[in-house]
Every structure is written in C-alpha cells, then in structure tokens.
C-alpha cells in the first residue's frame, strides 16, 4: 500500500488544469481543477501553473555499473533520471562486463529494482563483448527476468552487414529491436572526434564526417526492409540521416530514430577551445544539422529524444582532446533543453513533448506502464514541470557522480518540479524525495 497523493491544478499536457489523485500505484481520479472531493490524501501537491506529463522515458542512458562505479552507479544514475523527470531509463550494454548474457542483464535489472527510483531496463549487446562478430545471447536475454527487448552495441557500430542482417532477423522472433550506433568505422575511425569540416581542418582534429553516419543509416533501413524487421537509429546527428529516415518511413520501413538534447542545441564551434567536456560521439554538428534535427523532431521523422547520458570520471576527461573519453551528462537537463529549444522555439507543444520524451520511447522500447495517458486506471508515472522557470545549470548541483556537464552555466527554460513512480514521489520541489 503506497501513499495517496493529491495533485492540485496541474495542466495536463499543458492543456486544462486538473486535480489528480494517485493511489496504489495508479491514477485513481482526474477531475477539473478545484473539483476534487479527495480529503484523505497523505500528501497534497500544489501544481498551480505546472504542466503534468507522463513520466519521461530515456532510450539511451549509460549507468556505468558494473565496471565504472566511480563515474556512475545504477543508484546515482537513477537519481539523476528522477531529477530529470524520468520514470524509466534504458541502460546501455557497454559496461564492464558487457551486458551480453541473461545473467548480466538480470544483474542490472535487479540493481535498478533495488534502487527503486526509476525503472531501469537493461539494453542487451547485439554481439558478444561488443566485438561486432558473433551474436550475443539475444534470445536468452529476451527470455530473462529482465525481459530485454532493445539490443545495441552502442559506442560501437554493428558495421558488418551480415551480422546486422542476422541480428535484425533474429530479434523478430521475440519482438526485439536493434538500436544502431551508426558510424562506419572505415569512414570515421573511433579516434574521430570533431565534425569533419572547416573547424576540424583548422583545429587539426580527426574528422568525423556526417556521411559515416548516413551510409550506415541508409544500409540499415534497407536491411530492415529486406528482413521485415525493425531498426532504431540511436543519436541521429545529421541532416542527411534525417533525409534517409524520412524516405524510409515514407516507404513503410519499420524504422525509428532518436536525437539527443545536445545535438538539438550545441554546435561544433564549441570545440574551438579543445575542451573535452564537448567531446561526444557522434560529435556536435554545425547549425544546419541542428536545425534539421529540430525540424525532424517536430514533424515526427525523429520519434524520440534520448539523452545518451554518459558520465565520466574527471580524470578521464583531463587528457588531450583526442585521448579524452567521449560523452556528456544529459538526464537532469534534458527536459529543460527540450523546453528551451522545442517549446519556447514554437516547434512542439507539451503534448508533443510527452510524445517524444515519453510515449514514443516507451513504445519503441516495449515498456508497458510507461508513456501512458494521464487517465484514471493508468500507472501513476508522471512528472510535473514548471514551464516558465528559468534555471542556470550548475554542474556541482548535479546528483550524478560525474561533472562532465556541457550545460554548466547555461540558462535554460523549464524545470522539473516533481516526479512520481507508480504513485510514489521520487522528486518533490525539484529535489530527491527518496533516501
């Protein structure tokens, strides 16, 4: 028996204000604001002026456990997720050891349930050890207690066309999806770290050309068509990839795509000062690509926002730029970035935000109980957002263990005020509500 919560006056998906009652893990009442008769709630949350969204779902999170517990753990990453408004995250497989067996997947799954702050759903590796050669035990992971449905070698591309074909065919048997890190390693070796263009030429940094992503996206949608399977493109970063996905969807190919908050706002010129905080894979792209990504997210060609939250210990970023670790934090600021870029920018309304940050990612990942409408009988996974709050990001205020925060010092609009996981408050007044 969980506590009963009354939320008063929240604007459902930015629309009409309503009172909601959460009890026993589900939404038990949704009525016009001010008309609730609920009097026995353990807690009342004044949500006047706040927008209620279904709890956010992140298709792409690196929680670093097992292996790099100094950078993040399932517990600390779950906290960061909750503070960011998330009720479910997909934990990428590139841990040490790699999540490429049922046992490894169940380990991560159990750590998530023990933390109890958001639903941690492990992603399984496509190939053993992320080596790109032999299929990992996809079926055993799918049948495991963790119920893995999304498979990815993220960090590495499944670049061998034959292996990719077999993976796509194989996961059809249990409704799985392959999430591809699209990077042709011949065109963009894993040392590539700066968008290939004038700036990479000037800075003398190894170029990462957009075409190295686009050729893999193009190949994979053709493989998805050929196999009749489903492919998901992780962290789409170029206008060219958007064009390919647009074409593929028009053909009826079963493809979905995600974009990160950083690719929606940050541009390649930030690399000018060689600050490894801005080193990420795929790299930050020029403004033209950013524009195309925003447009594609607005019109549904890109289905979801996914953070690619990638915590790193400070010393792993204090190397020369080409030697430093790839990745940046994302969970805590994602909603604010999307609010600033997409809502303030007039490209999405709050219903659209709910679609790209909750409903679509939940559907892609096959997560039942998440991304649902805010209606009676639905699981009480939701987040309350102050749409007009202005926040200046302070990396030292983060609940993540890491500080590789590209948003530090930036002023963003929109702040998560509260998060509820199956009716239990994980965040209240923008702070963790759980030990």
């Amino acid at each position: 028996m969980t506590e009963k919560t009354l939320i008063k006056g929240a604007r459902l998906l930015g629309g009409d204000a309503a009172d909601l009652v959460l009890a026993d893990g589900v939404i038990t009442e949704v009525v016009a604001a001010g008309s609730t008769t609920e009097v026995s709630a353990d807690r009342t949350v004044d949500a006047d002026g706040l927008v209620a969204l279904p709890g956010l779902v992140d298709l792409h999170t690196h929680l670093r456990q097992p292996g790099r517990e100094d950078a993040e753990t399932v517990l600390t990453g779950s906290r960061a997720a909750a503070v960011g408004g998330y009720t479910a995250v997909l934990a990428m497989a590139n841990t040490n050891p790699v999540t490429d067996t049922a046992e490894a997947a169940e380990h991560v799954f159990d750590l998530g349930r023990a933390a109890g702050i958001c639903d941690v759903q492990p992603v399984g590796a496509v190939t053993k050890g992320l080596q790109g050669e032999e299929l990992a035990e996809l079926g055993l992971m799918a049948r495991s207690r963790a119920g893995v449905k999304v498979f990815s070698d993220d960090g590495r591309c499944v670049h061998d066309a034959r292996v990719m074909r077999r993976a796509l065919e194989y996961v059809k048997a249990f409704g799985g999806v392959v999430s591809q890190h699209a990077q042709d390693p011949q065109l963009a070796p894993y040392t590539s770290c700066c968008h290939e263009g004038e700036l990479s030429g000037r800075l003398g940094l190894p170029g990462w050309p957009g075409v190295a992503e686009e050729v893999i996206v193009a190949r994979d949608v053709m493989l998805a068509r050929h196999t009749g399977s489903r492919v998901h493109v992780a962290h789409v970063s170029t206008a060219g990839s958007v064009e390919v996905v647009r074409w593929a969807k028009a053909q009826g190919i079963d493809v979905t795509a995600e974009v990160t908050p950083h690719h929606l706002l940050l541009t390649t010129d930030l690399l000018e000062g060689y600050d490894p905080t801005y080193k990420v894979n795929p790299p930050l792209r020029p403004a033209e690509d950013v524009e195309a990504l925003r447009g594609a997210l607005a019109d549904g060609i890109i289905d979801a926002v996914a953070t690619d939250h990638a915590p790193h210990a400070r010393h792993d970023k204090e190397h020369a730029f080409v030697d430093a670790a790839f990745g940046m934090l994302g969970l805590e600021a994602a909603l604010s970035v999307v609010c600033t870029v997409m809502v303030e920018g007039g490209l999405l309304d709050w219903a659209g935000v709910a679609r790209v940050m909750s409903a679509s990612p939940a559907r892609i990942a096959g997560l039942e109980g998440h991304g649902r409408p805010l209606a009676v009988g639905e699981p009480a996974n939701l987040t309350l957002v102050d749409p007009s709050a202005t926040v200046t990001v302070d990396r030292d205020a983060s609940v993540s263990l890491s500080r590789n925060n590209p948003w530090h010092g930036r002023e963003l609009t929109g702040a998560v005020r509260a998060t509820f996981l199956r009716g239990r408050a994980t965040v209240l007044d923008s702070a963790l509500a759980l030990p």
Binding site: E198, L203, G204, F321
Partner: protein, 314 residues
Amino acid sequence: MKKHLLSIDDLSRDDIEALFETAAEMHDVQHRSVKKLPALRGRTVINLFFEDSTRTRSSFEIAGKWLSADVINISAKGSSASKGESLRDTVLTVTAMGIDGLVMRHGASGAAHQVAGWLDVPVVNAGDGMHEHPTQALLDAYTLRRRLGSLEGRHVAIVGDLTHSRVFRSNIKCLAMLGARVTVVAPPTLMPAGIDAWAKDAGFGTSWDLDEVLAEEPDAVMMLRVQRERMSGGYFPTAREYTVGYGLTRERLAMLKPDAPICHPGPMNRGLEIAPEAADAAASAVLDQVSAGVAIRMSVLYHLIAGPNEGVTP
C-alpha cells in the same frame, strides 16, 4: 606579448617584429666563440616531449642553454592515457618541481592549449598534433625575411601533406600576418576538410596543380614532409606518383626564380617530396632554417620567461 605561445594567433604583428628583432641579436651570438648570455640564469626550462623529436628538442635545448637557463629534457613518449595518468596530472607533476617555463610537444592537437589552462608558468607549444608549431612558422618567416627583405606582397607556395601538417597551419597565419600571399598545393586527399571556406576566410589560395602554381614564379617555396605511411592510408597510390605530381623535382627546380628560397622543415625525404638537387641548391634555405630556429627559440624563451622588464639586455 601574451604569457604563452600556443598558436600564431597569440601574437600580434608587433609581437612578431619584437621577436624577430631579438632573434637577430641572438643570431649574432651563434657566431661568437663564447655563446652564453646571462638572460635566463637561474631559470629552469623543461622540454616535455610526448612525441619523438630530434631537431626541435635540441634546438630548444641549445636556445635555453645559450641563455644560461637550466634545461631539462623529459621524454614522455606514448600517450599519458595509455599509462593511466591524465595529461593534467603529468604536467602538474612536472611543473611542481619548480620551473619557469614549459616547452611542450604532444601528438594531440590542442594539448598545449589545454595544458596552458592548468599551469601558471609560460607554455611554449613545440608542436601539437596536426594543429600548430608556432616557433617553426616564426623561424620560417624570419628566414624568408632575411632572404627576401619584406614579405609584403611576396608569393609563397606551401606544398605537400597539408592535412597532417602543423607547420602549414602555423605558417598560413604567420605569413599572412606579415603580408605575404600564400598558395597551398596538395592532392585533394591531403587537403584538410573544409579548406575552401577556410582559404576564402583567411585569404590564401589553394591548388591541386603544382606546375600551375610554379608557373606563377612564386618568391619562395616551402616543401612539407610527406610521411610514407600515408600511402597505406590511401592518401596517394605510390611514392612515384606523388613525386611526379607534387615533388620539387629537378625539372621543377628549373622553373623557379634562381634566388627563390626553398624551405623544408625537415626531416627531408630526398627523392620523394624534394630532389637532392633542390635540397642542395644555392637557393635552398634548409640549413638557414635550422640556424634561425635556435635564434627564434632564444628570442621566444627570452620574451616569455625573462619578461620585458627584467633589465637584462641580450
């Protein structure tokens, strides 16, 4: 002058003139039998080289020693990442010994820039990856000035592997600042990404055709080293084909104005990018560059470490 010399961007035209003026005085010292100046007596300079180097390191070493500094060479080959130590920890460790200046070479672009942000002592970039090598550009320009007089309006051709060249990246800025007109020549595969926009913005020319550029009778040519391992990277098919397209061959030597200086930062691949006849031609400036290198580095160390108000004239 700024505290560090990380890029030619750190220098103004006046800074370059001041460095050249001091270098000219230092250059005279090289011809004395007693070469020591007391300018940096009691100062310690560390040459921290993460990448192999013979000429640049010894040039900085001699420069420091002739200024009476205590010069320590540290070879830290292999990336610090592979040894598990962060770059920041490595340089903080070295500077904690109590030093007055750090001369650093690193295989990664931007490394000197990052290090300067962590340290209080002046940092001189002795080459960072494919990014910059400012003292090389200064010594090249200094050499050309001694040969040609003013560089204002002079046409300089830079030929070779531009993509991987920090010498090119520093030279393009330095020569432009001194008023020279530069054309860079390379096959398309050895041109950096986005060079057209860059060239337009920075006001230099680009060409895939060396003969066409030489037909314009440039006032100087600068040949860049081409590493043979670039062939395995598929940048060009064979050494022979490279030489035919982009080498300063005997035939092309004959196209040059007789007094046009021929520069090469070394080490030279004789027979690949430069024919022996060109390397040894009367107009060759290759050894002048080496000698100017010591003078320029003395000047840089003097200006950055002794500072302008130290009262010790060179």
